[in-house]
Amino acid sequence: MNSFFSGTRLRDMIRAIRACKTAAEERAVVRKECAAIRTSINENDHDYRHRNLAKLMFIHMLGYPTHFGQMECLKLIASAGFPEKRIGYLGLMLLLDERQEVLMLVTNSLKQDLNHSNQYIVGLALCALGNICSAEMARDLAPEVERLLQFRDPNIRKKAALCSIRIIRKVPDLAENFINPAAALLKEKHHGVLITGIQLCTDLCKVSPEALEFLRKKHTEGLVRTLKDVVNSPYTPEYDIAGIADPFLHVRLLKLLRALGQGDADSSDAMNDILAQVATKTESNKNAGNAILYECVETIMSIEDNGGLRVLAINILGRFLSNRDNNIRYVALNMLMKAITVDAQAVQRHRATILECVKDSDASIRKRALELVYLLVNETNVKPLTKELIDYLEVSDQDFKGDLTAKICSIVEKFSPEKIWYIDQMLKVLAEAGNFVKDEVWHALIVVISNASDLHGYTVRALYKAFKTSSEQESLVRVAVWCIGEYGDMLMNNVGMLGVEDSVTVTDSDIVDVVEIAIKHHASDLTTKAMALIALLKLSSRFPSCSEYVFSVPSIPCNSIRLMFFYHRGTAFFLSCIKRMRFQLRIKDIIVHHKGSLVLELQQRSLEFNSIIDKHQNIRSTLVERMPILDEATFTTRRAGSLPAAVSTSGGASLNLPNGAVKPSTSLLVDLLDLSDDVPAAPSSSGGDFLQDLLGVDLSPAPTQSGTNQVQKAGTDVLLDLLSIGAHPVQSSSSTTDILSPIQNEKSPIATLDALLPSSSLSAQATSAKAAPVMDLLDDFSPSPSKPEDNGSVYPPLVAFESSSLRITFDFSKQPGNPQITIVLATFTNLTPNVFTDFIFQAAVPKFLQLHLDPASSNILPASGNGSITQNLRVTNNQHGKVFLAFTSKSIVMRTRISYKINNKDTLEEAQINNFPRDL
């Protein structure tokens, strides 16, 4: 077969490819064709070069590689004939782009062709240059193009103008060369040349301020006149579209006028009339007319202020917005976004319509409208708008929810008038589209929640309810799990109820259910599961009062005594303990279950948490403390969820010291015995309690040998237990002291201790602590015997401050059930013969305390103790009942400042009060 018949015609190849039934077949055909073309290229076959290239272009369009044809393009371009050049340039534009090295080789051919005598060939070269020109080519060929802007044939002029646009986009430095020839094009009558000239000028204005200035000065008038001519031109069939002569030219002219008018009052003024004419006269029943109106509105919005025109423009937009054609509504929304900076009030008028557009079925319109609504929101309308948007969230498309939630969250965050509203809205969003919100959103929400201490209970309940209905929303689950971990106790006990909410009855097992669902849900990812694990750990200590029994019971042999103790406390208590044991065991189960998790993180955490629950009771509560500062509700919850209040004993052993020379050990002692409060030190306190119990049982009769034995035996166990789990030796000593002191037996506790301590295998900390308890014991016995009181917290009044002129006494009282809150009644007495006026008492406390000052009874203090001012101070001790490994617990310290006037003379007294009873 000879070369004339080798290969197929283009048409045949296309047919063959179209006939292919499968992709594989098509590939085979293309492969065969490509092979034939390569052979033909290798044979340097001139005659079929352009046919081969045409085939390659088709193959390229189908997505096959055709790089081997690139050189053929160059050869065709270099050939003499018009058809070859034509197909060569076409191939150049399709197969190559400006980044290919090969393109360097074409510059010379292009230069020759730009100077060619045949204007059609010049046209081809310009066309190729306009479409693929690189910066280097732009520099090399700019003079030719510039010259061609004045070519006699309009087809060349318009091509050269567009080429110039490409050149100045690539190399803005070349702009100044084009200013004059471009301006000359503005006087053209030929529409094609005029429109390309206008486009060139618009681009020149963008890249060169001189060009802008020049055109503004010299050509604004001319352009206005041109536009006037076009607007008023009679029917021209050649350019007519829907009864409008060349809408494209209109649009381009308006665009250039916009560039000229922006920021320049004079030129804006010059175009006012024609803009008004276009805005009023243009027919708006066809797309072409609307395109002009749209462009005109944009120009009016952009040029310097003219009130009347803007009203006209906004009215046009209003009309667009109510148009039935979606395209028109779309551009109206688009333009209103720009208008909002000009006249927000006018745009607000269309709010209802815009809000409707958010709910449109067309995603493009929805997106525009949503962005517009976002701009429309302000403090006054945030609530109704947010409500509308959230309502719509329920029914919106899945793929729109991402955008919508992002905007709602942003609006809510930006304009929320109050925290509760913020939390409410965010919960709604999370419940509706929690899977679509970004991580920052729920992170921020958690921050807000944790800061709104008065709303913790409300929030956690709301989250619990929301979780019940939409547990598939990941972000909601995370926030819920976090809050339940932090504030699970509030959920169960309806703490901090607001007037607006209904109470929910939630048991501890319901709460664990929630976390369990979260952790077991197949769709939950690692973060959620990890958060759920932490929540479990936290929950295990949120209701911790009985946990020690659960985990320490097996390690203590004398269960019968333990049970006696339980019975001693009442059946109800016993039952509640059993319930709690079950609760704790469940949590442990879930955690243990994850010990086998394949995810390293979960496995490691569950192992750690398990060992915290099992072996590190003493530090667990400190480990899982609430994230922010504890608030007062916590302890109420704990008490309610733990032991009956009756146990709250307080020793007050050596508290009768006049000015509060309180020994740390005393307060610890009291503290420890105040079992119900003693949550963090739970195991030790229980141990102490057992000891007390045991000793109490033993001591009621005269101590006998057998009793001592029992004490020794049981006591050792208890102590062992206590010490091995890292409890504080002081407790054992103190509890012993407390029990023994009434019977004035000074020796026996020490003896007991001496007997106990060495015999027990002491841990390091116990050894280090050993000396101290003995000291404490001895200290404690020196004052008069303590009087154990069964209930009610009684603290001696305290002279907090005394100077030559003023005495302050504090009386303490505690509300039952609120051990961390102390009510301090401050009484101020005037010791001078002068009346104090404008009496103000101020106080400050360290961070672990919260102080609330009620108003004073008066601000005038009568002279010589003839009366007094009283003022209530409410001190909340967040550290109350927390005993650290050190012996001291933090006690209340207060810095005060008293200012008053004696005979209108300002007096200021300051003092630090640190002699408060230790256990407040």
Binding site: R51, G81, H191, T196, Q199, A291, N327, S361
Partner: protein, 177 residues
């Protein structure tokens, strides 16, 4: 400015793709795929504008063909929509009652028409008649060259192979050659 022009059928086969910005081949295919996915399922009542990455696509459907223009976000959508229609009218005029097959078999001519209509991503000529006339001139020029070429080819073949075969004059040189 127009970033690219795509002509695709409902199945997503590209019938014409013209890029005025440099893109890698792989990127081009991705763009074509994405644009097709964007426009193919839209309701006819929907807007003809879809946001695409940082730009927007103005598209219009004629029978089974989608004409899509990717333009800057600030461009006048309505004007470009009109522009698509004008292009279709030109094609219709040129091929007299254009159908998809015309565009497949004469894809190179479609490119040539497009080059007379849009250049460097901007509108070059707004008169249908001017473009058709220009195309006519170019075709005539090509036929003239083609006639010379055919004769030359024929003579060459006659000389070297002693075979005689007259090329059909009605076919364009690209198709016949």
């Amino acid at each position: 400015m127009i970033r690219f022009i795509l002509l695709q059928n409902r199945q997503g086969k590209t019938r014409l793709a013209k890029y005025y910005v440099p893109l890698e081949d792989s990127e081009k295919h991705k763009v074509e795929y994405e644009v097709h996915r964007l426009v193919v399922n839209r309701d006819s009542k929907f807007t003809n504008f879809v946001e695409f990455r940082t730009h927007k696509v103005i598209y219009r459907r004629y029978a089974g063909l989608f004409f899509s223009l990717c333009v800057d976000i600030t461009d006048n959508e309505l004007a470009y929509l009109e522009c698509i229609h004008l292009f279709v009218e030109i094609l219709d005029h040129f091929f007299s009652n254009v159908c998809e097959l015309d565009l497949v078999f004469n894809f190179h001519k479609v490119y040539l028409i497009l080059d007379e209509f849009i250049l460097a991503g901007e509108l070059q000529e707004t008169s249908k008649r001017a473009i058709i006339e220009r195309m006519g001139e170019l075709e005539k020029l090509e036929l003239k060259s083609q006639a010379i070429l055919s004769v030359k080819l024929t003579c060459k073949n006659l000389d070297s192979r002693s075979q005689f075969r007259l090329p059909s004059p009605s076919l364009s040189p690209l198709v016949a050659a």
